[in-house]
Subunit: 189 residues, 2 copies
Amino acid sequence: MLTPMNGVDRQKLFDTIDAITADKTIARFKFRLRNKWVDGGENRSRVDDYDGANQTFRREAPFELVNDEPPVLLGTDRGPNPVEYVLHALAGCLTTSLVYHAAAKGIEVKGVTTRFEGDLDLRGFLGIDSNVRRGYQGIRVVFDIDADMDEAGKRELIKTAQKYSPVYDIVTNGVPVACVLDARQAQAA
Amino acid sequence: MLTPMNGVDRQKLFDTIDAITADKTIARFKFRLRNKWVDGGENRSRVDDYDGANQTFRREAPFELVNDEPPVLLGTDRGPNPVEYVLHALAGCLTTSLVYHAAAKGIEVKGVTTRFEGDLDLRGFLGIDSNVRRGYQGIRVVFDIDADMDEAGKRELIKTAQKYSPVYDIVTNGVPVACVLDARQAQAA
């Protein structure tokens, strides 16, 4: 029986790896949400159920997330804006990947703090210059890691996080996104 | 003086476009946040200031966002997980892009609801099969739009959202992400 490390139940982690190695269908997850426009730059998402390990899981209570834009971007600042949420997703995933993979290797981590910054040129979104991309031109991440190891060891932890993080893969490599109009609505129109 | 539409101050929107056309430095934004690991799959981001229009803006109160993982992914479910936040960011940005660009064209939108789903194979994150990608293999989006227009018009609104949304660009095309160890920490090690 392995002891937990970095708050990660390592026994359950290795049991999961064994189970997936025996039956890869256990590894298939589907995450989902519904979003509803409120007004202007404000909209809200409801995050509840997801599929994984051949079953559907539902939260005890759904999470509600608020997107808005600050006044300079014509919003009412009731929540972070979507490009800030991208940084949050990336921060969370890199940190969790670092901590989980360290735990799997038996490396104790005492603290991780990160700073994220992304450059965005509004001419893209506004359609002022079609040569300017709409999204971030680049994102910079600075890690501060508290662990009993030298600089090279910490850099290795960062590399491992980059190697295994799902959101780092999504943000750096891109994912196909298919957008359609609701079929019932399309029929009704 | 233009009237607002879809909750968007169109006069301010066109004034912004004019200002940026005259001075492109106004269009340069930097969004940022700090994240701190709590334990296991839980970590928290603090979203506060950002740069844009040649100045730094600070929120009246910072936003705090919570990442966690559900129990099946060895977490304590105190918040959505990072890949769910990716869907939230994408949902918010596509919706805001749709609504703002409709407003700019004088198209009234009464409602937008969307459903998002992404497929993720955990073998990537766990390093069980290096041929399986870590991030989403694909994301599906279904739009339900309430507006006085036919199906073709609604499909056009969706295409416009895809064309101008920063997060859609980030998620479909990818962005360079540079990760470094804090320089002071590197010196101290």
